[in-house]
């Protein structure tokens, strides 16, 4: 008796404390993309990547996203993949393109150039075609390669035969986008000082200036992600090579303002250590997201209302306990979801909401299992009070068995699947555990206490137990209670 009172007051105190804490800390559930709109992408390395490489990649992507000014980005690794979630971001497609870009920058001496038109013409011979066959697959930094240059419509215009890399992106300190009335939008990188940066660039420029065999064309190609952005010529009009200043180089490739800004942004934070490929990208419009949210909330409320009404009509006071028990686990769930969103950045998605709706069903079921046990015992001749004491352990053992099956399902799904199904599994598991807690510490003891109240004891009808069953075998249709 005393223990029951302690359980009920204890669990109610925990739930209330949780709600108070959530309100005081201003925690709110973090809504997933499908509930508030935004963009997400799953990036998979094109080769097996070391965990450290993935961590570096996540860091770089985070910097780029911050550079875009996204409010609450969530960038995390999932297995060997990187999951980028950008809630409520504008220009979603641009953002998605930007986060996954490798941004591998290289400066290489140009050995020779041929136009695509010349290659396509009839008099191009086999040897030339072979010489200018594009390098496929891994483009080695320290070998000769053939790379294309594209026009705005992504058609190849020129093919460059290039020597080994002279300077790579790690020779840069940073980059900015600039506008010049003559060359338009361009990117102005700043090289690192000395042998790490500017010296390397000046070495290759000097070679090209004097047209040595390693740079017969006099051009230095700027290569980004295995294509040539531009290949400016080092002018040979003066006899002596004048070394470049660290920030006197510009990269102009017929950029629009946005392109220039994007290139500067990715150069600023450096290249990803591993090439990533977008496997799944989603853009959810804000209106669709909020529609889904309000529809889900409305449906949930109406559903809950109807379930409550049904429980009340069918089980009377027991129904009231079931509703209170639902409310209790709901309050604890709210606390946990809000805390997860605030401190772990774990968002509640539509799939998660479905998991919760399922859990409502499971939770109501736990109550129904017990109530039906109670009725069964009363039917077979027990008083309400003795039925309550006997039925709860039996029913709880059933509930534990069944809830455990739900937990196994949730755990398997959480650990073995990806994406939406995981969110579903997490919230299903969470709600199932809370169901067990609410059943054991709240619903059971409370009904035990109620059965001792003399007013209820005399009126089993208030427990939704037909009076005719509880008191006599005679059919008493319309037995008033």
């Amino acid at each position: 008796m005393r223990r029951k009172i302690a359980y009920v007051t204890g669990i109610v105190a925990v739930a209330v404390a949780g709600v108070v804490y959530t309100l005081a800390a201003g925690n709110e559930p973090l809504l997933g993309l499908d509930l508030q709109g935004g963009a997400s992408v799953v990036l998979e390395p094109t080769r097996t990547a070391e965990p450290e490489e993935l961590d570096i990649a996540v860091e770089i992507i985070r910097n780029r996203v911050d550079g875009l000014g996204v409010a609450e980005p969530d960038i995390s690794t999932q297995g060997s993949n990187i999951l980028v979630q950008l809630p409520g971001v504008d220009q979603q497609q641009r953002a998605l393109d930007l986060v996954g870009q490798t941004a591998e920058l290289r400066f290489r001496p140009v050995l020779s150039v041929v136009s695509e038109d010349a290659l396509a013409s009839a008099d191009a011979d086999e040897a030339i075609l072979e010489l200018f066959a594009l390098t496929e697959g891994g483009v080695a930094a320290d070998a000769d390669v053939v790379l294309p240059q594209y026009d705005d419509d992504r058609n190849i215009v020129l093919r460059y035969q290039l020597g080994p890399t002279a300077v790579a992106g790690d020779g840069l300190e940073g980059a900015v986008a600039q506008f010049h009335s003559f060359i338009g939008w361009h990117v102005a990188p700043t090289f690192k000082p000395g042998a790490e940066g500017i010296d390397l660039f000046n070495n290759v420029s000097r070679d090209c200036h004097s047209r040595v065999p390693s740079c017969p064309s006099g051009q230095v190609a700027i290569e980004m992600d295995n294509e040539v952005v531009s290949a400016p010529t080092v002018q040979a009009d003066s006899a002596f090579f004048e070394p470049f200043e660290r920030s006197s180089i510009t990269i102009s490739g017929g950029f629009t303002e946005q392109e220039a800004r994007d290139v500067a942004l990715v150069l600023d934070y450096g290249a990803l250590p591993v090439e990533l490929e977008a496997q799944e990208s989603r853009i959810v419009s804000a209106s669709l997201g909020t529609d889904a949210l309000s529809a889900g909330v409305l449906a949930g409320l109406i559903g809950l209302g109807l379930v409550s009404a049904y429980l009340l009509i069918y089980y009377r006071l027991l129904g009231l306990v079931a509703i209170a028990s639902l409310g209790l686990s709901g309050a604890m769930l709210w606390t946990i979801i809000a805390w997860l969103g605030e401190s772990q950045g774990l968002a509640l998605t539509l799939a998660g909401v479905t998991g919760l709706i399922v859990a409502v069903g499971v939770s109501v079921d736990s109550n129904v299992v017990y109530f039906e046990h109670l009725k069964e015992d009363v039917r077979s001749g027990r008083t309400l009070r003795s039925a309550v004491d006997r039925a709860f352990p039996v029913a709880f053992s059933t509930i534990v068995k069944a809830d455990f099956a739900s937990l196994i399902a949730a755990a398997v799904l959480y650990f073995l699947t990806v994406g939406q199904v995981r969110g579903f599994a997490l919230y299903l598991g969470l709600a199932t555990i809370l169901d067990l807690v609410a059943t054991y510490f709240f619903m059971g003891p409370l009904i035990g206490l109620m059965s001792r109240s003399s007013g209820l004891y005399a009126h089993p009808g208030r427990f939704g137990i037909p009076a005719s069953l509880a008191r006599s075998g005679a059919q008493q249709p319309g037995a008033a209670s």
Binding site: Q279, A292, A295, G361, G419, L428
Partner: protein, 377 residues
């Protein structure tokens, strides 16, 4: 309060209604077999309409109340998505699915749709899935399913008994086959939302089945000591005892789902919710059915083969007893046993007529004399 004189409903409420489950099992077997055959055949012949998440490709969604599918197709001519699959989902959402990738192509369709619907580009939702990703997801889901089945089988075998594990798995597989078959027959698109719903179905069905089995074990533990009842009879009693729970649970589970379906999709146009709800509704119905009819009958069939129960069945047959319709007798015994267990408490408050009431009507023949203790092998 209210008079509970609602005929059958009232007697179910009071637990007086006795349904002869073993007879229904025979019909259910035919029904289930037919449903499984139709499902498998449909899946084999027509296949399922898999969403882009499984096959790769791009899908666009835009709210466009005044736009028909034909108009959408016209608008997409020249964007590379002219042969796309275009449909209206929910109430007013146009969904386009095409096998194209690449930011530029995706954007051009997006712009065309935005223009068509008279909204900004940001109002068009886009999902792109690489082809290898889809198969990876599918493989992961399959592995998860296998692991799940194995773990559940071990769990039920350990907590209950292995024959029940077999019964539960048969029931769950039955549910999934029939649900997928439903999707195949009506060519509804299978999306991740649908898969989640199917997983939910498994959860519901399993929960239901375990509750039934636990009741069976409880009843068998109490009644089988008399050695007078076949397993099927005890199963029948258990099912009648959990029937109200099953009905109530199904109703309370269906209410939120139905409101999700009606409010969520038909009124406000949230497509994903609608997809969830349809699959869930199908699954709850199938899952409740399979717990009472498939899971129970599989275990009963297996248990009746056990020597102990073969012997009991033989004895009853020799006496010329009929093995069906004896539920009430079992119920009476069960009640009497419950009585004995609770004998120490006062019975003064109760009229003495309560136990025979449960037995009345079925115990037409007098309770047969105790069988001789003649071991017959």
């Amino acid at each position: 309060m209210t008079g509970w004189s609602l005929g059958v409903l009232g007697s179910v409420y009071r637990g007086e209604q006795q349904i002869d489950f073993p007879r229904l099992w025979r019909r259910a077997l035919i029904g289930s077999l037919a449903a499984v055959v139709v499902s498998v055949a449909s899946f084999a012949i027509r296949g399922a309409d898999l969403g882009i998440e499984f096959e790769g490709g791009t899908s666009w969604e835009v709210p466009a109340p005044q736009v028909s599918v034909a108009e959408a197709r016209d608008a997409l001519r020249g964007t590379g998505a002219a042969d796309a699959k275009i449909q209206t989902v929910g109430v007013d959402t146009i969904r386009v699915r095409a096998d194209i990738e690449g930011p530029d192509a995706v954007d051009s369709v997006r712009n065309a749709l935005a223009e068509l619907a008279g909204v900004t580009t940001d109002d068009v939702s886009v999902t792109t899935v690489g082809p290898s990703w889809g198969s990876e997801i599918t493989a992961k889901a399959r592995n998860a399913l296998i692991a799940f089945f194995a773990l559940i089988a071990v769990y039920i075998a350990a907590r209950l008994e292995w024959k029940m594990a077999v019964g539960a798995l048969v029931a769950v597989v039955h549910d999934i086959v029939v649900s997928v078959g439903f999707y195949s027959v009506f060519q509804f698109e299978i999306t991740p939302a649908t898969v989640i719903a199917f997983l939910t179905i498994m959860g519901y069905s399993l929960y239901d089945t375990i509750v039934v089995y636990d009741k069976v074990r409880e009843v068998v533990g109490r009644v089988s000591a008399t050695g007078r009842y076949t397993y099927t009879e005890m199963m029948n009693l258990s099912l009648n005892q959990v029937l109200m729970r099953s009905i109530n649970t199904s109703i309370t589970s269906m209410i939120p789902v139905a409101s999700m379906l009606i409010i969520g999709s038909f009124v406000l146009g949230a497509v994903t919710l609608q997809e969830f709800a349809v699959a869930l509704l199908v699954g709850i119905v199938v899952g409740t059915y399979s717990s009472l009819f498939v899971a129970a009958s599989v275990v009963a069939r297996m248990k009746e083969r056990e020597p102990a129960y073969v012997e009991i069945a033989e004895r009853i047959r020799l006496r010329g007893g009929d093995t069906g319709g004896t539920t009430r007798k079992v119920a009476a015994d069960d009640a009497a046993l419950g009585e004995a267990a609770a004998a120490k408490r006062s019975t003064a408050a109760r009229k003495p007529g309560s136990v025979p009431r449960a037995a009345a009507g079925s115990a037409t023949g007098a309770i047969p004399p105790r069988p001789r203790k003649k071991k017959k092998r």
